[in-house]
């Protein structure tokens, strides 16, 4: 496909809706296949971010001892490995039809995600889950929405072999194709001192992701003593975040927990009303009885209705039905839409969702309940959340705020005052059918 020169908002955002698209409208970039910015434009944007050459040194805001301890021996993110990983991250030839790179769904110009509801892979296939940002992903305890991989190195190898994402059949196919290219033979040799292999490919991409740490936000500057770094509304929002709105329970956000996640799994009732969890769980147990391999889990998570079971697919613990990983709060201004299925378009929608106590279901997390936030308090919380985007994305963050605000002024589909003010309880509606 020949790249077209268009403004980003026109392309690839069918599912996300125009408002989210507009949020990221910026200087004209070349839109390429699957709606992603062209790799050339992405590389130019990447160069402007000023990334470190390797992932060996702890980035600012991260404890150096913890950082070093998190690096797996023999998988050190050296400069040569990071360079190779960067090359592979933007390499569409990793996919079976040469159209999908990591950067297709984790686009540098779109907050390292795709700003779509769910990701699009080879042949225009849509998966079931929202592509999370690769920014700071290396700092998670587990990868993916259901935690089916532990490290970014391990994670990186899985979408390549998923039939919906990059579509390759076997590791050997990938290594054969990439390894036949002299540029990669040299790069693997420089990085690992040996011929290309799938394991080294994983480590290289993971090494690159370890340089994508973006934790310098206005909030951090405010916490460090710059009283004017965030607005008064955002400061009020921070008080709510730690108190009435109960956010901090699952999103602890402090120097010891910089991402704002508890690295745990919760059913917060996202779009649960139309899911037959009991039926799905029975189907899942039957399917996993036959094959519970990593490959099978990966295909079931992206390609079937069982995707909505979330963490249950990994643990088979009934308590994990419909539970997904607590996403980080960093850079969330520029990573819309939200939640594991991308079903919430704005942060106003997100707070509206929590304010009404989620979508009630039998497996709803015990910490989720109606919050009785006023409209002004919702606005303050959103203002606070927009202070968590790294200053290097300040312009995109401001555009996203304006666009989301305009969208929220038009439509608040998840706002439900009867539920949020506890005039009706979620379970009453469910049990009594009211």
């Amino acid at each position: 496909m020949k790249p077209r020169r268009v403004r980003i908002l026109c392309a690839g955002l069918v599912l996300a809706g125009p408002s989210v698209a507009r949020a990221f409208a910026q200087d004209a970039v070349t839109t390429s296949v699957h709606g992603a910015a062209s790799m050339k434009d992405q590389l130019a944007a990447l160069a402007r971010l000023g990334l470190p050459q390797d992932g060996l040194q702890a980035p600012p805001g991260i404890d150096p001892i913890a950082w070093t301890a998190s690096i797996v021996p023999d998988e050190e993110p050296t400069p040569a490995r990071v360079a190779l990983g960067r090359k592979l991250y933007f390499e569409p030839r990793l996919s079976t039809d040469g159209t999908v790179a990591c950067a297709t769904c984790h686009d540098v110009t779109r907050g390292f995600t795709d700003n779509r509801m769910v990701a699009e892979g080879v042949g225009g296939q849509l998966g079931r889950r929202n592509a999370p940002t690769t920014l700071n992903a290396a700092l998670f305890t587990d990868q993916f929405w259901d935690g089916r991989a532990r490290t970014v190195e391990h994670q990186a190898g899985m979408p390549i072999l998923n039939s919906i994402e990059m579509g390759d059949q076997t590791e050997a196919d990938v290594v054969g194709r990439i390894g036949a290219l002299p540029e990669y033979q040299q790069a693997f040799q420089a990085a690992f001192g040996r011929a290309p292999s799938y394991e080294d490919l994983r480590v290289a991409i993971g090494s690159f992701e370890r340089t994508l740490i973006f934790l310098d936000a206005p909030f951090d500057r405010w916490q460090a003593g710059d009283a004017s770094a965030i607005s008064e509304a955002a400061q009020r929002g921070h008080v709510l975040f730690d108190g009435k709105a109960r956010c901090t329970n699952c999103h602890p956000l402090n120097p010891a927990s910089p991402l704002g996640t508890d690295n745990a799994y919760h059913n917060i009732g996202v779009a649960a009303h139309d899911k037959d969890f009991e039926g799905l769980a029975r189907q899942a147990l039957a399917a996993l009885e036959k094959d519970a391999s990593e490959k099978a889990l990966d295909e079931l998570a992206l390609g079937t209705d069982l995707s909505e079971l979330g963490r249950f697919m990994i643990t088979r613990n009934r308590a994990d039905i419909g539970a997904f990983k607590t996403e980080q709060l960093r850079n969330l201004g520029i990573t819309a839409p939200y939640m594991h299925d991308g079903s919430l378009q704005t942060l106003w929608d997100v707070i509206d969702h929590y304010n009404k106590g989620g979508e009630d279901n039998a497996f709803l997390d015990g910490g989720i309940e109606a919050l009785a936030l006023t409209d002004a308090e919702v606005d303050d919380l959103v203002a606070f959340l927009f202070t968590l985007t790294d200053v290097r994305f300040a312009d995109a963050n401001q555009r996203a705020f304006d666009a989301q605000k305009a969208q929220a002024a038009k439509s608040r589909p998840f706002k439900d005052d009867a539920l949020s003010q506890r005039r009706v309880l979620g379970f009453e509606r469910r049990v009594l059918g009211e």
Binding site: N317, R318, A362, F363, G366, G367
Partner: protein
Amino acid sequence: MTIRSVETKYLERREEILRALVNLDRRAFLRVSGAAAAIAATRGIGHAHSFQPVRVDAPGAVEPFRFAYISDSHLYERKLNDRFIRSLLRAVDDVNALDPQPDFVLYGGDLAQLGQPAELDLGAQILKELKAPVKMMVGEHDWYLDLGEKWRSLFGKDVYSFDHKGIHFVVLNSVVEDDFWTVRGLTPMERMKTVAGLDNRSQSNFQVGPPQREWLTKDLEPVSDDTPVIVFSHSPLYHLYQGWNFWTIDAPEVQRILARFRHVTVIHGHTHQLLTNRIKNIHFHGMLSTAWPWPYAPQGLPELTVQMNRPNPFNSQDGCGDGQVLVNAEGLVDKVYNLWNRNVVTVAHEYLESNGVQKRPAAANVATY
């Protein structure tokens, strides 16, 4: 209350056939075993071995089965507290999802918080949603407003026994207290609130009491020493911690009545936590609450108990849950704690039989705390 689901009726029909089987001689057994095996096969997994001819040679043996439990829901009226209602509904959903269904569901007491008729009515209404039959037990929170009048009108007797698949079950009212209220002229609500205070020492002690112990002795008279006995009591039938009424004062006397049996299991509520104990022939298991977890008592904790760590105070369901009791062919039980926010924990009978040497259960800890 007896609500028999389709599954239960089916199970009863199957039991009838099994009972007929154990009375047959071997040749007659072979004639009918085909029909019985076919029924077993349609029911699904796990029980086919019950149809081995050995049953003919060992009449009275236990057929393995399971029952579920829900306990300590402490319901208030909706306008005062809706979390606990939601939690009980969750437990009912859990139990109704079991496939195959449990033979019955034990409700472990403290359905209400302050014995209010509206609280008990609400609880009865929710428990009616259970597909399997329910065996009710009373707790002190159900009892001390009207001394059980409302509870009995809804659920019947508070003390009873029954036989099921070779096990003799006894349901006790272990929260009987000596009259501390008359002399002080307390109103029913003052009496209720005094008992509801966990560490309110102005009340008496929980006890089974002499009349009930006498009833128990008589009830057990025809039961052979080899018959496994499972006792349900709301408070633990041993001395754990008097300061919080984790205690039944005449527990040693009750244990003596139970001493002659080869296998005795006591399943109790009240303590709202994972709790495992063994005293001689008696295995003790606590039940989880659906409402809140108690911390562990500062002293008296049985050595066999594998504690769970501090529950998350922001998650009203952490440390709570429901569970199952799996009864094996010897009449020993594996106790399943189905924790809603943690891993499921099974305390196997081997763990208690070996005094903690074998099959130590995994701790139900939340890593981030």
